[in-house]
Subunit: 220 residues, 2 copies
DNA sequence: GCGCTCCGTTCAGGTCGATGTCAGCTTGAG
DNA sequence: CTCAAGCTGACATCGACCTGAACGGAGCGC
């Protein structure tokens, strides 16, 4: 497996490179985004390890551009311990996973394994927007990192909304997602659940697009 | 890292091998203890994955001999779901950790990570959350350092919960762990044990996640 | 064997939270 | 302004869950 490491710190970069090499992967090490672009021009990588704080620009923008171009190469971002917003932004920008510095090298191996094992197109383990995160595997949700008490139906509605990031989701789409074919035709159940969700995650986190549906927003 | 997998079941063995390979480790797969000995004669391993039920002898004796020879290679044992006594015997014989079949491959990765990260010779002899501790080898439990009178079934339920730290464990998962294949289909046995455990360790140390399962908390 | 205790399991009845429905109100487009 | 779309508090219902009690089997001391 060929890995592109994008990291400006010499010490950390060398440690990561050696460890990933020891795991049996080929590693190219770029110290700047420009170098990273050059590497990508001449080689194809199975995985990118991307530090978000780099001397020549925001790693985040690099990642966004990558995804905007339709590139689905797995990306693991490396962020500073206190930059929680960076991690969230990174995931929203299309990162597959993240590691908080300083991290155990063994942890790096585990993340590399899980990210590359995950089939392309398979849903990630969590969905989030702003400070609200949905753990898909656990069927749980957190807000600002703390557990958010949420019922099964509420969770499903939130997942339906989150699955389209900040896009509009119609009421009928949500209904189809919540109920089997024996649809509930009448009543305003979805409206009720949206109201209940708003109470829990913030009233203005869910916008109403009249006649179209609902839309999540990053910040209320 | 080089791993020796000792497992006679073809299906399970192949799955484990592929998964550990995907994690970046080298894997040698022995179907019998004799093969395992041969492998160990020509290679050095960082980790052994040892099934205790093998056609040509007790894996337990293999493990005991290993330790008697002073070998401190980490060993994770794989045991059938209802062989609780095997697990305990395995830990007493010098295993570093164990996995109950069937297990999630992701769980395997996690255990491999933690076992190898852990300094050699510091096996996980106990699990704990808050002031409640389970001694795996002794099959006993303590609360606030004092012995907690507990029955076998209660212990098993608590172990099932603790094995996932503070994560949610479903009733069916607990059932699968307590009973062999001839599952008990009806009755609310698990609920009863949860109730009894609550009486002993504190009513609100075990949260009910409606429709999902149960979850331990550090503080009641 | 006999009586005893302990443990695992089952059962019945009670509790409580999740769900869906509705009525009356608010809001925004035209 | 008018009216449809949407919002929200209240509430009946239902099923998941809790719990005390009881039953029967296993083990043990005598």
């Amino acid at each position: 497996m060929r890995v592109l490491l994008i990291e400006d710190d010499t010490l950390l970069g060398a440690a990561v490179r050696d460890h990933v090499l020891a795991d049996g992967h080929a590693v190219d090490w770029a110290r700047r985004l420009q170098e990273a672009e050059d590497c990508r021009a001449v080689a194809t990588y199975s995985l990118l390890l991307l530090d978000l704080m780099l001397p020549d620009g925001r790693g985040l923008d690099f990642l966004r551009q990558l995804r905007a171009r339709g590139d689905i190469t797995p990306v693991i971002i490396l962020t500073a311990r206190d930059q929680l917003s960076d991690r969230i932004a990174g995931l929203n920008a299309g990162a597959d996973d993240y590691l908080v510095k300083p991290f155990e090298l063994a942890e790096l191996s585990a993340r590399i394994g899980s990210v590359t094992r995950r089939a392309v197109g398979q849903p990630a383990t969590s969905l989030s927007i702003g400070d609200v995160t949905l753990q898909l595997a656990e069927r749980s949700a957190t807000r600002k990192g703390r557990a958010l008490p949420i019922t099964a139906r509420e969770w499903a509605v939130l997942e339906a909304l989150l699955s389209r990031h900040a896009g509009v989701v119609s009421k009928s789409e949500i209904e189809e997602r919540l109920y089997a074919l024996d649809a509930e035709v009448e009543s305003n159940t979805i409206e009720v659940y949206v109201a209940r969700l708003r109470k829990k995650i913030g009233h203005d986190r869910i916008l109403t697009e009249r006649g179209l549906g609902y839309r999540l927003v990053r910040e209320g």
